[in-house]
């Protein structure tokens, strides 16, 4: 049952791959060679990978650092900062980049892009790591210290090892996200694979060249996934055997580091929020263009939330079997199925959108240009976010409970309904919140697949900025961020609750 569901989910995740395969076959070997075997491709690959590596490193630093500060130190206002550190998830990279560009002169290029992307994506690391730091048993750390290891060596030797799965999972999401991001790299003018795919559509209106480049991006993803699998293999898991309640972890006194730590976390919050926020205010003040009527804005907001909710629900339904399978039947098969959902995660939304157009036209025509196909596109795009959340929640609940239920005569469905789902409920909620807010921010696939005439906050934002009507655009941007902040609060609260998982 789980396997069937997992295969279905993987099939959905691989729609873009089938599409790229079909189009690449049409293009033919010669065209593919001409398109890919060039110096430009090598340069694009180098830039994309360097940017992804740099942003991932930055996110690991900020994410782990922030998680440590808010869970393990005497930083003032820890709970507040715990939420603040998650909030950048609500900020679309195109809004953040646009904000920086309009506030700082000459802000473009590789390093600025790395900065903006780091500010926007470090919560992908921060949330799981904060949850891990909250839920690991401090007893192991205490043993290490009692055996003579100092605080720092205990952190690197014991604590970091315990939270490593969370760090690696968050880092992988960041890496793949950076490869797929278009908003920041376009506005800050960094030539990555994804930007090149987008401009290839403009160059001579030739989609084949663009799709061939996207195929190369899948190969890059495959290499990254392979590397990640190699790293993960050496993971050591610590399990607590026996009952009893954990003690809260010891709080590290920051002492003289209090002020710098506070300053750092405020600086990150300012970089993620204050700069784009200031830009929005400036647009509104400078421009005379005005958004649609309050009813139109409310309609766009309702549409955004409606399709995002549908997308999140569908994604969770598809993710559930894979997440449970990974947790309950770990092994090569579940690992491969789980990884397959990541394979197209680095693809630009435009390519995934076109693949769903292809799917809708050729396979599911009654769904074409309905919210259902758009929701399916969201599932294709964001399945890994959901699978990770379900798997980590399910891994924390002991399979022995399900086995006990089965031995007491309950059927598999009843066990799923009465034992497994309730135990993974927090994970499902967190995953849904994460997918929901990611759907809210999505633009390229939404443009291609939305029902004709349906506007969302993201499409309205695009409409107005494309004619330089920034004042009209800013309320949509602000509303998009505010409405996405709700799910972020849910995520942050969960991550900061002992025993919670992101």
């Amino acid at each position: 049952m789980l396997l069937t569901g997992s295969l279905l989910a993987v099939a959905v995740a691989l729609i873009p791959l089938v599409y790229l395969g079909v189009r690449a076959a049409e293009a033919g070997g010669e065209r593919i060679r001409a398109e890919l075997l060039t110096g430009a491709t090598a340069e694009l690959a180098a830039t994309s990978l360097a940017l992804a590596a740099l942003v991932t490193a930055g996110c690991l630093l900020l994410g782990v650092g922030a998680a440590f500060l808010v869970t393990r130190t005497d930083l003032p206002l820890r709970r507040t900062f715990g939420v603040v550190a998650a909030l950048p998830l609500a900020m679309p990279t195109y809004v953040a980049a646009f904000g920086w560009v309009s506030v700082v002169d000459g802000f473009h290029g590789f390093w600025p892009a790395a900065l903006v992307l780091t500010f926007c994506s470090f919560p992908y690391v921060y949330l799981p790591v904060a949850a891990a730091l909250r839920s690991v048993d401090p007893a192991v750390e205490e043993v290490s210290q009692s055996l003579g290891r100092g605080g720092r060596r205990t952190f690197t030797g014991v604590t970091l090892r315990q939270i490593r799965p969370a760090v690696v999972a968050g880092g992988l999401l960041v890496t793949l996200y950076v490869l797929s991001d278009f908003g920041a790299v376009a506005l800050l003018r960094v030539n990555t694979f994804t930007r090149s795919v987008f401009t290839s559509f403009d160059l001579g209106f030739d989609r084949v060249g663009a799709l061939v480049q996207a195929t190369a991006l899948v190969v890059v993803t495959l290499v990254i996934l392979g590397a990640e699998l190699a790293v993960r293999r050496h993971d050591t898991r610590y399990a607590k055997v026996g009952g009893g309640t954990r003690r809260p972890a010891r709080i590290v006194r920051l002492g003289p580091w209090r002020a710098p730590a506070l300053l750092a976390i405020v600086a990150v919050a300012a970089g993620s929020f204050a700069v784009p926020g200031a830009a929005l205010v400036r647009w509104t003040a400078e421009g005379v263009s005005r958004p649609g009527s309050p009813a139109e804005i409310a309609g766009a907001a309702a549409n955004s939330m409606g399709v995002s909710a549908l997308g999140a629900a569908l994604t969770m339904l598809l993710a559930l079997p894979i997440g449970l399978l990974t947790a309950r039947a770990p092994g090569p098969l579940s690992a491969v199925l789980d990884r397959l959902t990541y394979l197209t995660h680095a693809l630009p939304g435009l390519v995934v959108g076109l693949s769903l157009v292809f799917f809708g036209i050729n396979v599911a025509y009654p769904l074409y240009q309905t919210r259902w196909l758009l929701a399916l596109a969201y599932a294709t795009l964001f399945l890994p976010l959901a699978v990770g959340a379900v798997a980590s929640a399910a891994a924390l609940s002991p399979p022995s409970l399900e086995e006990a239920a089965r031995s007491l005569g309950r059927g598999p469905w009843a066990v799923l309904r009465t034992v497994t789902l309730p135990l993974t409920l927090p994970g499902i909620g967190a995953g849904a919140a994460l997918v929901f807010l990611t759907c809210m921010k999505e633009l390229p696939a939404t443009l291609l697949l939305r029902p004709t005439g349906m506007d969302t906050l993201a499409t309205e934002l695009w409409t107005h900025t494309s004619v330089a009507a920034y004042a009209a655009a800013s309320p949509y941007a602000a509303l998009l961020v505010i409405l996405s902040a709700g799910p972020v609060l849910v995520l942050a609260r969960r991550a900061l609750t002992p025993g919670g998982t992101p």
């Binding site: 160059l203 209106f205 610590y238 549908l310 924390l396 309904r417 494309s466 004619v467 009507a469």
Partner: protein, 360 residues
């Protein structure tokens, strides 16, 4: 304490009250989410519209005109907005099953790509007759709607009047080193390169692109950014389309001559003063669709053309509709008369731009 490669298997259940959540609540909440979303989806089922238009042109510029059309004719229009290039890709993906009746494109090249894919029907002859030959498909499969002039935009504080180039070929000169903004991936730049090749030959066009590349150009994604930066004093000059200046003025709530950014028109048939067009294509399945034809007629009629002339500051393409005040007339400018509707020529231009290194 250590278990390798196995998930942790024991946890303390009783300590976490949230885990006691009523089992039904899980299924119920997921189901409720789907139902809620599905309910919202159901609300979108408005009555079907008479015709469907795919627009690569922006909603705020086009929708008022379409509303006016519906008011006058009673014909309802479903409009799907996107970027021109992505809409062209979508139409090619959809093929014969496309819901679209009409494609309104920001650029002739995209119409050419869709025509080449065999998706466009013949535009009715009486519509083709309204528009000069250079601004329609040689085979009659698309027709231009508005003209968009290539210009030299500059910041009045940073560029002296005597510095302004007489020909676009002069911008490769040393006085423009590092000072010129271009958007080489933009469709209108691509068409401009095609025009260069037609007027001066491939060798000269290549020489020009190499000259631009060697002159440390300020590469931007689009014309809006270039015009904005010129007005802010961040860029001295750039090669753009004429109407972006008017958009900028409208956004700032000032008259165009109050802006720092000014337009310099190339005259005497210079390639720099090329006229690009936005245009209309009729999808094959809508061939013979009277309402779709009526829509195209409206855009090419006096009302539609006057709307574009006065609201988007583009050049009307039919005879008898005046251009917006403040814009020089096409006759005075002596724009180059080049037929630009051959898509294969566009592909060669794109290849040339790519090889020049301007896009990487």
């Amino acid at each position: 304490m250590r278990t390798d490669r196995r998930p942790s298997t024991a946890v303390t259940i009783g300590t976490d009250t949230r885990r006691k959540a009523a089992p039904r609540a899980v299924v119920a909440s997921l189901a409720a989410a789907v139902l809620l979303a599905a309910g919202l989806a159901g609300c979108s089922g408005e009555e079907p519209k008479d015709i469907t238009v795919y627009s690569g042109r922006t909603q705020s510029l086009v929708q008022p005109l379409i509303d006016e059309f519906t008011k006058k004719t009673g014909i309802t229009v479903a409009v799907r907005y996107g970027t021109t290039a992505q809409t062209a890709a979508q139409l090619q993906e959809e093929g014969d099953k496309s819901p679209a009746d009409v494609f309104l494109s920001q650029d002739a090249g995209a119409l050419g790509a869709v025509a080449k894919a065999g998706l466009l029907a013949q535009v009715p002859a009486e519509l083709l007759a309204k528009v000069p030959a250079p601004y329609q498909h040689a085979g009659g499969q698309w027709v231009g709607v508005t003209g968009r002039l290539r210009v030299f935009a500059y910041n009045a504080d940073q560029v002296k009047p005597e510095e302004l180039p007489k020909s676009v070929l002069d911008v490769t000169g040393p006085q423009w080193k590092g000072r010129l903004g271009v958007a080489p991936t933009n469709a209108s730049f691509q068409t401009f390169v095609t025009a260069l090749r037609v007027q001066h030959g491939d060798a000269k066009a290549k020489q020009f692109l190499d000259g631009i590349k060697a002159n440390e150009p300020q590469i931007r994604d689009n014309n809006i950014v270039i015009v904005g930066e010129i007005n802010d004093g961040k860029l001295p000059a750039g090669l753009v389309n004429h109407y972006y200046l008017f958009e900028k003025a409208a956004e700032l709530g000032v008259s165009p001559d109050q802006l720092k950014v000014k337009l310099h028109y190339f005259g005497d048939g210079d390639t720099g003063g090329l006229l690009n067009v936005s245009g209309l294509g009729l999808l094959k399945k809508a061939s013979g669709n009277a309402k779709a034809k009526q829509f195209m007629e409206y855009l090419l009629g006096v009302d539609g053309q006057t709307y574009f002339a006065t609201k988007t500051f583009e050049y009307p393409l039919i005879a008898g509709v005046p251009t917006a005040p403040g814009l020089p007339s096409l006759a005075d400018l002596k724009i180059p008369a080049i037929n630009l509707n051959d898509l294969d020529t566009l592909a060669a231009s794109v290849e040339m731009i790519k090889n020049s290194g301007l896009t990487s």
